[in-house]
């Protein structure tokens, strides 16, 4: 099980920065990224984010892990731009995707989930007037983060069970039992939340 994008304890400046600030920077970077269209600008942005990894003392290996799942998708996008004749465009687009993913991962790796959730809850507070319960939003977020490894575990179980019975994996033969298990898990999780006083 990889520790993709999860909090890495530490005491660096980036770890101590307020979660709200970090989320704000991340959002701003996302918006600003549409303004970049030269290869050297992207290189600078990538350099800054990688500098952030150094400041947070997160090993290069972790940075590589964050972008590895994207290789195929990014590769296809790059290929498309190269074929349509623009090397620079290919570099700008793939570089930006990698930079933003690395930035998001850097924020999650240096921010405790509770702090992140609190920051989101704070951002949602003005929405209270239109009937949104910020605490609920925060809880959903934390539950979502917690559920990722659980569902990955369930998927591994389904795959192992099918291999053991010598079944070749058709997407449907895989999806149906996975959905059934996930729903059963969600049910049990709901019971546990009630038992643990979510309604208090």
């Amino acid at each position: 099980m990889s520790v993709l994008g999860l909090y890495q304890p530490g005491g660096t400046v980036l770890h101590r920065a307020r979660a709200g600030t970090k989320l704000g920077v991340m959002l701003a970077a996302g918006v600003a990224s549409v303004l970049l269209d030269h290869w050297w600008q992207v290189l600078v942005a990538l350099g800054v984010v990688l500098g952030g990894y150094a400041v947070a003392r997160i090993p290069a290996r972790m940075a590589v892990l964050q972008v590895r799942p994207l290789v195929w998708m990014v590769g296809l996008i790059a290929l498309f731009h190269v074929l349509s004749g623009s090397w620079e465009r290919a570099f700008v687009v793939t570089g930006l995707i990698a930079t933003l993913v690395l930035l998001a991962a850097l924020v999650t790796m240096t921010t405790r989930t509770t702090d992140m959730v609190d920051a989101v809850v704070g951002l949602c507070r003005p929405l209270r007037r239109v009937g949104v319960d910020p605490e609920r939003v925060g809880l959903m977020l934390a539950l979502g983060i917690r559920s990722v490894p659980v569902v990955v575990g369930l998927a591994e179980e389904v795959r192992d069970a099918q291999r053991a019975r010598g079944l070749t994996a058709s997407p449907r033969a895989f999806a149906v039992p996975l959905i059934v298990r996930s729903l059963r898990h969600a049910d049990a999780l709901g019971d546990a939340l009630v038992a643990r006083g979510v309604d208090d």
Binding site: T113, A142, I145, R196
Partner: protein, 230 residues
């Protein structure tokens, strides 16, 4: 010890032709500190213990914990009765160990420092202090169940209900969990298929086909259960 009053409780799931009775007219008064429950799969054990904290409400009859009716005072009852499920993955609700233990203490009017101190104390008791900031999914099965237990006990319930807490664990981890339960000051209601966990219990109930068919000491109850299953 708290007093749990189960008064002529019956329960059925489903409606019409799907209706299925899973508990028939169960009446009990539970006052002992250690109460065990054994019985075949499907005999109604889980349904019964889920009634003790109001997770399931009886179709007829009533359950009261220290006088509080689960139907009318669900929240209060759930503060009194902690619940530990079989699958630790389904009851760990926060991403990291520390956050999960702290979850039950929100809205209890405690300061951040008070919460941190209670969480740290709990983690130390169950040997999880080195894992406080680790994601819960990196723990072993036994550690996960100890985390689930810590997260329930940190709220200081008067009763702890456990539904097959060791069924998914190997023997060593099962021993760790049962060892942790042995010294608790709480009233404990434990459903289990690991019969050795019932050593030293005050009272053991045997469930069979929707009813309590035996109620006595661990030795006599286990003997009765074995005979029933033979």
């Amino acid at each position: 010890m708290p007093v749990i009053d189960v008064d002529r409780v019956s329960h059925a799931y489903g409606e019409g032709s799907n209706r299925r009775v899973v508990l028939s007219d169960v009446s009990l008064r539970l006052t002992e500190q250690r109460i065990g429950i054994v019985g075949a799969n499907g005999s109604g054990k889980s349904t019964f213990v889920r009634m003790l904290n109001g997770l399931v409400l009886p179709t007829s009859g009533s359950v009261r914990v220290d006088g509080l009716d689960t139907r009318k005072s669900g929240r209060e009852v759930r503060r009194l009765v902690g619940f530990c499920f079989t699958d630790p993955d389904a009851q760990i609700v926060m991403p990291t160990v520390r956050e999960d233990v702290a979850f039950g203490l929100r809205r209890r009017g405690l300061s951040k420092d008070q919460v941190a101190a209670r969480v740290a104390g709990m983690l130390a008791t169950y040997g999880l202090e080195g894992h406080a900031d680790h994601p819960a999914h990196l723990l072993s099965g036994g550690q996960k169940q100890l985390l689930a237990l810590s997260s329930v006990l940190v709220t200081e319930p008067a009763v702890l209900v456990m539904d097959e807490p060791t069924t998914l664990l190997d023997l060593r981890n099962a021993a760790k969990v049962s060892g942790a339960v042995r010294d608790l000051p709480q009233q404990v209601v434990l459903v289990t298929h690991h019969l050795d966990l019932l050593d030293g219990f005050d009272r053991v109930l045997v469930f069979d086909e929707t009813r309590v068919v035996y109620d006595g000491t661990p030795a006599s109850a286990v003997a009765h259960y074995r005979e029933l299953m033979a």
